[in-house]
Symmetry: C2
């Protein structure tokens, strides 16, 4: 192979920083030639990788100072690749290994992390649709299926890493799901309260009714429903730490007679209820269990029953990105709306309202990321720098996905077919919106 | 077969009016025996049919005065079967032939028609889910597929039967789709206006924008968008009579420079638009053409594009009842929400809002049926008594289906993925709701 081939390679992939071609007649030592050939090959492969993910406006910088990009001078961030091993991993599967290498500091992003992620997301979805990453996931999916024991293991991985950690960056009520911002300037605390109320209104709760909640987090919604709507709540969760926290809270707030927290799987629910609600659990159910979930709802609801499922969703079915699925949310799989309908259609449930709150999740994540950064030192003390970086990337990546339209947030309200106790219009949802927001009385 | 068997048969199917068993020792003439055997067999079969459709609270009365029911004394209506031929047809396929026999007066409903239909719908859906009627439809479906020519034939059958006929019972704007009732006492005229406005608000139309409408009826929405939102509209429809009417109207209202009505299939749309809207067409598209519709929308919308589809829908996929599909709406097939998603998901459209207006359609149909009955004499003059009865049954049956939850009305709003020009909340839809309602200024 002759040195001149470096230039055509650069041209072939549409621009990029061309490695300076040496004068033709220069005498080349064999060892230098080999090094240059390796560099040329690496550059070629990196440019091809950038091309495959849609040519984001970024520049790659290697450990030796070599700069590689398809956008000359127009990049929003530089990505430092610190060693050749990192480079090879990145070439193998950028979706999976970027996160791993970023977490362990073998890759650094210089410039604004969010700007970098936006640049990637802007071009990535189309290429992903075409081919990347999907088949690589199959073996992990099997290993992480949400069977009764699999679900426990998966949920433990994410939710049982310490309530004190989550307290650092969630709101005071410990709500780890999309908030609802009546206005862009609403605080996170008020927006989480508004979310609880938005859901309760959609459920049209009446005093004395019985509500069952599947996947109750640290218990904030269950306690809110009991306190402000006078209902009794049976709430299921398989996260040990969350249930312990929620029970303490119910006791402290004098609501333990009205709210029961059960450490068990949603599939083991029993009893008959006026309303079913699930906020942020469906992401962990797995689409192959949707019919089962529908059966659970069907056997749990009275004839006048209604319900609401609040979940991260997608515009079309695809697996979660492999890094998040492996390191952050094992077993997670947000559904498309068509997939969600597998819960309702076999049981003749009537979908009455679907609201997409995607921009609210972007805003929620802005708040979380800000609070997280403010407490990064404390997180480092609790865990280690690798953990800090992994969660930074996860929060920033999620923010970007919701902002750019790659992920959705669906609230789906439904009733039994033929239940005419439904409001004629949705206007009532928007009357005196601020019933509870801003009215923090210390009892959440 | 001996006479005594009549009683066990009656008991077997759980009650019913038992044909008086003759004294055991009575001497029976051979001919009378045969007649009784036939009656017993007919009663047995009719009771079995009633059982198969879920035992509605009705009584069947035969031409000879024989009364048959599974609800002694508790029936809401009597169904007179006027001849043995009608009885046999009804036994063969009640879903298809009830309508045909009712139309031709070989079956009469004594008592309240709506009450009778409600009694049937109350028990019918479950039995239908299990088995009835589906496979019988297959051959008709093939004959009525919504190919380019098939769709023209199907649409002509329903919509070209005379504008004067529809004028008798629709509102002044000639809207033949579900209205929107801000309150239960809103008039039909105001509710249709409120519907137009509800759709325009969901589409967030701005002056100067270009809108494409698929299936524009008599043009009311297109003209409303142009007049009140300052947009230009290209509206497609394959009903000759509707397009002629709409063009006259645009000319009379001085909007012909702003609204173009094109007599062509939605699949032949061309151009690029800010918004796509379709109200009451999807029912006629056929689920096997949804991807094609999605492609049409995808190629017609700008990057900031959004759209709305308003359609009759179902809680789960099933074919339309065979009588309506054969005699009223050939080729029609309302979708479930999962089926509708076949339009959006392959093209990465983002569903932002789904509203189920089922009760609004029940109310709309109450108004239509009332006006229709008020003008039944005029309809008889235009057509014949059979037509009058067929359309009475269709309107009353539809009203009952929406009221009882057998049919849904979905408004699905969507945008291109990543289009962030979407409102944070839906509150704006409910502010100063009455902008246009009640403000009829003669120009619709």
């Amino acid at each position: 192979m002759r040195q001149e081939q470096a230039e055509p390679v650069g041209n072939l992939i549409n621009g990029g920083i061309i490695y300076p071609a040496p004068a033709r007649k220069q005498v080349i030592e064999p060892r230098r030639t080999l090094v240059r050939m390796i560099f040329a090959a690496e550059r070629f492969l990196l440019l091809r990788m950038l091309n495959a993910i849609g040519n984001p406006q970024v520049q790659l910088v290697l450990w030796n100072g070599l700069e590689i990009s398809n956008h000359q001078g127009m990049v929003v961030a530089q990505v430092l690749i610190r060693d050749r091993g990192a480079l090879f991993k990145l070439l193998t599967d950028p979706e999976l290994y970027f996160g791993e290498l970023y977490s362990s500091q073998r890759i650094e992003v210089q410039g604004n992390l969010l700007g970098f992620l936006e640049a990637v997301y802007r071009v990535w979805p189309l290429s992903r649709q075409r081919k990347i990453g999907k088949k690589l996931l199959a073996p992990f999916y099997d290993a992480r299926r949400n069977t009764l024991t699999g679900a426990r293991r998966n949920i433990h991985h994410h939710y049982d890493i310490g309530n004190d950690f989550y307290k650092l960056w969630l709101d005071e009520r410990m709500l780890y799901t999309c908030a609802y911002f009546p206005s862009p300037t609403t605080s996170l605390e008020d927006a989480q309260l508004a979310k609880l109320d938005h859901i309760c209104r959609k459920l049209r709760l009446h005093p004395g009714e019985k509500v069952v909640e599947a996947g109750c987090g640290w218990g904030a919604l269950a306690l809110h429903m009991a306190r402000h709507y006078g209902v009794t709540v049976t709430a299921y969760n398989i996260s040990k730490e969350q249930v312990a926290f929620a029970r303490q809270r119910a006791y402290a707030e004098g609501l333990d007679g009205q709210v029961e927290f059960i450490e068990d799987d949603y599939r083991n629910m029993s009893g008959e209820f006026d309303a079913f609600v699930s906020v942020g659990m469906l992401e962990h159910v797995g689409t192959d269990h949707y019919r089962e979930l529908g059966e659970v709802i069907d056997r749990s609801l009275k004839d006048s029953g209604r319900g609401l499922i609040h979940t991260i969703g997608l515009n079309y079915p695809r697996p979660m990105d492999s890094w998040t699925e492996r390191h952050i949310f094992p077993g997670a799989c947000p559904p498309s709306l068509a997939q969600m309908m597998q819960i309702f259609e076999p049981f003749d449930f009537s979908v009455v309202d679907v609201e997409n709150l995607r921009l609210h999740y972007a805003k929620t994540l802005e708040h979380w990321l800000q609070r997280y950064e403010d407490n990064a030192d404390l997180v480092t003390e609790m865990f280690d720098p690798k953990f800090v970086r992994a969660w930074r990337l996860y929060l920033a990546g999620s923010l970007t996905a919701f902002k750019m339209g790659g992920m959705q947030l669906f609230q789906v309200a439904f009733t039994r077919a033929g239940n005419n106790q439904i409001p004629l219009t949705r206007q009532y949802l928007y009357e005196s919106q601020s019933n509870f927001s801003g009215a923090s009385d210390g009892k959440l």
